[in-house]
Assembly symmetry: D2
Homo-oligomer: 258 residues x 4
């Protein structure tokens, strides 16, 4: 039998739920800090020693329930600069590349740090992500988002141009969200282990075509796809897909080094 409810420690992530409204807010427990939940402020150090499932009162007197936060909750904490990758696309890239605990992954570019965070979470504490970007603003945004999600130790940010080269060797995967992924083909081939995975995420068909043409020898036949997520409004006797939605995010190409 597992320990059902351990006490909260500094460094834990919690989701605070206002049961009346259904509003939820995710934060990291750090001594001395406080968090504004939209239903009043909670001192984070007050959470330490409580158990998941217990309540805590905000300064407005609202009773908030303290819940365990997982990565899908933390993903909502990412602050947006450039268009961030959706969780569905990050998930599909991760799964089709077989990213798992202990992997070493190179990413270019860092963007807002959303894909960086996803990868850093997926490789676990034994893995590592090397993330390249040349734009100062993205660089800082990605760094602060990864830090906010408590994943800074698993990521090495490199202010460098991935089109010019990849320093790491023997990596498990190279994952790109850059405008000209074909410029990285040769560098990825050298960086990857034999059998390593190479992925590109781009918005236009033309970028897909150039990337696939540019692969040349040294890779398995590529798999290019897009995914559409369709949300449903589920009501007893009145269930239907939602009317509006994201018809397109990006094209994913996955290829294994031969």
């Amino acid at each position: 039998m597992m320990e059902t409810t351990r006490t909260i420690r500094e460094g834990d992530f919690v989701t605070l739920l206002d049961p009346a409204s259904g509003d939820a807010f995710t934060a990291k427990v750090v001594g001395g800090g406080s968090v504004n939940t939209g239903h009043g402020t909670v001192g984070l150090s007050e959470l330490i020693g409580k158990r998941f499932g217990e309540n805590i009162a905000s300064n407005h007197g609202d009773e908030l329930r303290i819940l365990s936060a997982n990565f899908s909750d933390k993903f909502l904490m990412i602050r947006r600069g450039p268009q961030i990758i959706t969780l569905k696309d990050a998930a599909l890239i991760g799964a089709f590349c077989g990213i798992q605990c202990g992997d070493v992954v190179v990413e270019g570019g860092s963007g807002s740090g959303a894909m960086t965070s996803f990868l850093a979470n997926a490789v676990g504490s034994d893995g590592h992500v090397f993330s390249y970007d040349i734009r100062d603003d993205f660089f800082e945004l990605a760094r602060s988002n990864v830090k906010r999600l408590g994943l800074a130790e698993r990521v090495t940010f490199k202010r460098a141009d991935i089109y010019a080269g990849i320093e790491e060797k023997g990596v498990d995967a190279v994952i790109l969200d850059v405008p000209e992924p074909w410029q990285v083909v040769g560098h990825a081939r050298e960086a990857l282990v034999p059998g390593g995975m190479f992925a590109s995420y781009v918005p236009t068909v033309n970028q897909v075509e150039k990337f696939v043409e540019g692969l040349g020898e040294g890779f398995f036949p590529p798999h290019t796809f897009e995914s559409i997520l369709r949300d449903y409004k589920v009501r007893d006797g009145a269930t239907r897909p939602e009317f509006q939605g994201l018809m397109h995010t990006g094209f994913i190409t996955i290829v294994k080094k031969a």
Copy 2:
């Protein structure tokens, strides 16, 4: 700098590539065994001590390249009994539930063991999966598939009816691929940590409706969606989506325990 090409050890998974045809075959390195690749047989013990990227000759004289296999390669090793979950759906359930290294997950039913394997891979060596099924045939098939993928130590198979109860408590997620997921709602609520994730994967809209209606108090508002993966044929100047494809797999509902 990382170790670029370590020597192959017993227990490693390798993908053997015939560069001429592009055919690839994934297998686990076990002393004494051999594998029929479609391009001749290779003695698995001969692989031990070689490096990834080197070649090995089959008994047909074909030179096969030895590549590192990742989970997306291993997923293809699963032998099919009942309809197995697609990798895309497993990936989306995993990501939207925030499954990560170290998690403890309950699964019902085991089916062919495809989702079991995905979860066992995702939770890493520190996590664990408890998988329920009552059908003898599925039970054995799932067990053998999970073993084939080298994940047996991370999974406890339970020949038990998940509609009747879940023994584990304090689990991070309960993930269902059963015909009547609404029968598991109360059991999941008790088994999950506060903030734990509950997912259902079903083929029909009616099952979605009954599951969502059955959730009642104690959960966040559910998120129901389906995903469509659309493959592309990418050719210079002649790129288009593939004509035929999987128009439907299943509906996924994800909900967080309040």
Copy 3:
């Protein structure tokens, strides 16, 4: 050789294009009227006797080109009350029901008159549409839209409850956009010619199910489908699907009377 550019007559529909902005405005030519195009006002009687392809000056001095309008232009003139059917769904219902010049069609309900207008256009001057509605507001809106599109002579509006019965017999098709189409099954069976077509357009899966269950004997196996239209942004070297779009409009069921 056909007559290439005839002169404009009262009753013609014209699309006035501002070539500088690309803005276009469709109107019916009626003596004495005027139209505000967004680029100034044009007296409609001034158009009479001009030829398609010529210009006319608005009172703002903008030169507007006079173009022939077709039904897809006129469809944009429909004023919206209740959610109107999309042109794509109207087109698919029309085609799968085989609606053509000369057909006699019963429609329920009239709604905003968008489907009514589509059908009235499709059946031509030799066909006829009988359109049922019980709501006064829809009734008036549909009537005014059909009149605006110059199709009033082809439509008989009936302020009557189609759930209670259909007076016409020997009709080619019965087309429904009502909340409870299953209430019309028996009436449609009596109204249709042998081999006539019966269509239902509903937003939810549950309505589809009730309709299909309700068909009973007397019909071919039904064909239920939905369509998704995906717009593309086409740019030299930067072509992609549009990001946002209509993920769902309605489910169409088409069935032939046996």
Copy 4:
């Protein structure tokens, strides 16, 4: 009140239904001919004078019900040579081009005659279709399909290269299903009435791009889209989309002459 069941005449199209199996077979009533329905042979001249809804016995003794056939039934009579356009795409092209009774349309190429037949049906007995093709085999196939559907009088087949020119002037629409639609842009501009509609149907994104780039001045901004039709299996309590389906047919671009 309309005539509910008139007697069948030579030239009518009938759908013969075997009520036991649900099989249906559509044919044209021509004196002297006979038709093999799969449930025995029926002499077509025996149908003359009967009423829709009555039965006729095949030479196997099966009682077949005589039903009115509409264009969606006739569309299934088309014999396939090259890939034929789907009814959904024909319907969308027709509707977004505003094709209606009385229109004059140019089509290139004739292909199997499926789009030709759709257009010939839509323009009615007062309209006309000019269909260009240079391949002898398609030319003959299209001609025989259009004749089989009873639409020969509405179509002029031209064994000519539409890339080299369009002879007709003042036409309402030019509709293309050719590999290089951009070669027809100038010819279409000259052939169309001011405000006339120009459509292209192609399988690849690259053809879309070249066509749209080639439009140049003289047209409204183009509308490019694709449509996905998703069939449903509707069963009481077990409704879901069909698993397999057509993920892609072609890209449609519609543009109005300025």
